[in-house]
Amino acid sequence: MSNLPVSDARGTTPLPEKSRRKGVFARLLRNWSGLVGLVLVSGYVFVALFAGFLAPYPPNAQHAVDRLQPPSSTYLLGTDEFGRDILSRVIFGAQNSLKVALSSVAIATLLGGALGMGAGYLGGAADNVTMRVVDLLFAFPAILLALFISAVLGPGERNTIIAISIVYLPIFARVTRASVLNVKDSDYVDAARSMGARDSRIIRWHILPNALAPIIVQISLALSWAILTEASLSFLGLGVVPPAPSWGAMLSEGRVLMELAPWTVFMPGVAIVVAILGFNLLGDGLRDVLDPKL
């Protein structure tokens, strides 16, 4: 379940940028599973961004009189034991999970990417040491590391973000480093250098675009994993603090009510699966389109 797909970029010969971008999008649209993934992810992001407008009730508002209602016209997905609208909680749960996932993956990408790029470009001792440390982080099964860091830091959104970032950092470091190594010694970089181009320019115009493809694929897969991990941690009692809505926590709380009110478990469950599936499909699609050799 905690399968971290590692993509070693083998890279493609860089085309002039504009035509490459146009080709990518067109190809994505023709790739059906990627398209479905895109639709699901867009739906998820839309719901998360506009949660305030879409949710019929505030997520924590308790209507004790209406508790444990099955889905009805007033409460489309039913209510939990406090009379809170499950639909609203699922919607705001999307917001929470997106917040955590985006933040942690962003941090992992930026920090990990910087590390990997630096290590790859500089080479030598810096490369060696950095990659040793990165490899050590790989020595932990991902969920274990996330659980451990969360346990030490304590529950809460901020700590969950930190935990997930740390776990995903090594992957981005490796991916960017591989891309850098791929391109570093190629002819046109040599040519650029011999023309007097500065390192930063080389990185920006040659190395970065090349690394972009595998990074983007990795981001999508990382987001999927981040959503799953946030849900798992919340399920185990770490993660967000109640009463904030989190799909994992909703599932955990609903377990004891399964026989009386199964919708309290099914609804957040479906939401989790849809979100993860969406990012998985999107990642697969992107991989097929951007980096067919993978």
Partner: protein, 531 residues
Amino acid sequence: MIRQLRTLPVVAVLLVLFLSLALAGCAPVGAPVAQPDAAATTAAPAEPATPKAGGVLIAARAADAKGLDPHVQTAFSSFRALEQIYEPLLRLNADMNVIPNLAESWAWSEDGKTLALTLRDNVKFHDGTPMTSADVKFSFERILNEATGAASRSFFTAIESIDTPDDYTVVFNLAAPNAALLAAVTNPNSAILSKAWLEGGADPAVDTNGTGPFKLKSWEPDNLMVLEANPDYWQAGLPYLAGIELRTIPDETSILAALRAGEVDWAIINDPRVGVTAATADLTLMRSPALAYHVLQLNATRPQFQDERVRLAISCAIDRQQVLDTASLGEGEVTAPATPLNYRAPLDELTCYTKDVERAQQLLADAGVSDVKFTMIAAADEPPTALAEAQNIQAQLEEIGVTAEIETLELGVYVDRWLKGDFDAAIALNGGNPDPDNMFYRYWHSTGNLNKVAGYSSPAIDALLDDARSTVDVAKRKELYLEIQKQLTAAAPWIWLYVGNEYRPMQKDVMGYTPLNNGSTVYLRETWLNR
């Protein structure tokens, strides 16, 4: 082209799966859930005449004992295990009356200041040594010794001295008459330990040596505690069982599953949300109102709660029935501070038992505070509804602008902080007792050993407690305790919520078990398996 043809149906299949999953979630459960009935229990089948000896009872509960020292442990899960191994001098029967146990009779002196107990002469500790009055004296002195940290110390502070005129007679000399003493003696925290054993260097935190019907054979914490029958138990013929396996299954729905599948014979269910689903045709469910009460404890020594008006505002803002309905599915009833029915104050005579948001807001305004913030600690297992209670209270308090945060702790960690009074507020399930002195004295008297946990005292209440303790006249005691309850709810150091139910589901062939309102499972000694 081919690719498109392939992936589109994939997606269609997925959508179908999701819809079916979602629809399954909407359908109410096929098996009918027995609606909670006032005092309904699925009746135990008519008992055949003769109990059969032998067999091991597989028992399950969600929380394991937290330790083995009967004088120190306060968690209910610990009591349930320890009361099989250790015994007090007296005990409560199913009607909550005091009956003989290790002591076969007792007599009060005329002035009520001397209590003489006659011990049985055939009681042996598990190590084979006989129990004598020296052990009783030693045990009570250990309880009274502050260094022990005994949970029941305050019950016995009236004891000035203990005499042991002969091996089987113990005399308690009291400073003043104490009407609650007998009930206090029945508490598992007042168990009798062996003087020779302790003086020989044994540590009751890790070893056991009691007089009870069962001996501790092995203990893997949070997993399995194996008890075996005590062949030398003083009650002839008991226990019927050859042993008990106390399994810790942390999830009560798993316990229920195990019961249904016949893997477990008898269980303690604390969560009413699981308890109500246990009432099925193939299990016996004993459901009885509890004496233990759910309460929101406020720590009046903390800055935000020092002003009585703030505490009272919180009390007025909480609809207790709503907490009961959301957290415990309405299984139980709202209660006054004293839970035994004959001492329970009528709710309309207490302050703020009806939700009054305006009054609450007025009180806050009078106190001059506008945003009260605090953190409530809640244990994960005791009660299992703690987190739900906390969430409902949190939502209700938002109405008057009070912000409550919730901190969930594991039970052992929670109890440590609870005992130290290290919290702003705590959601708790505290034990009840047929005698209100045992419920109140150690918390509310300024000298009580749990006063730190209560966080409040007043000279007026001190006087009332002392008076009520030494008054023997029942009618007068009732009046005194009524007054105490009124004062407590007016000062609102705690918000008393409700009493719930105790659930004891078991296989149909488990016979002879009688549940007690204080949750005690001592009647396992009379339980037998009809197999």
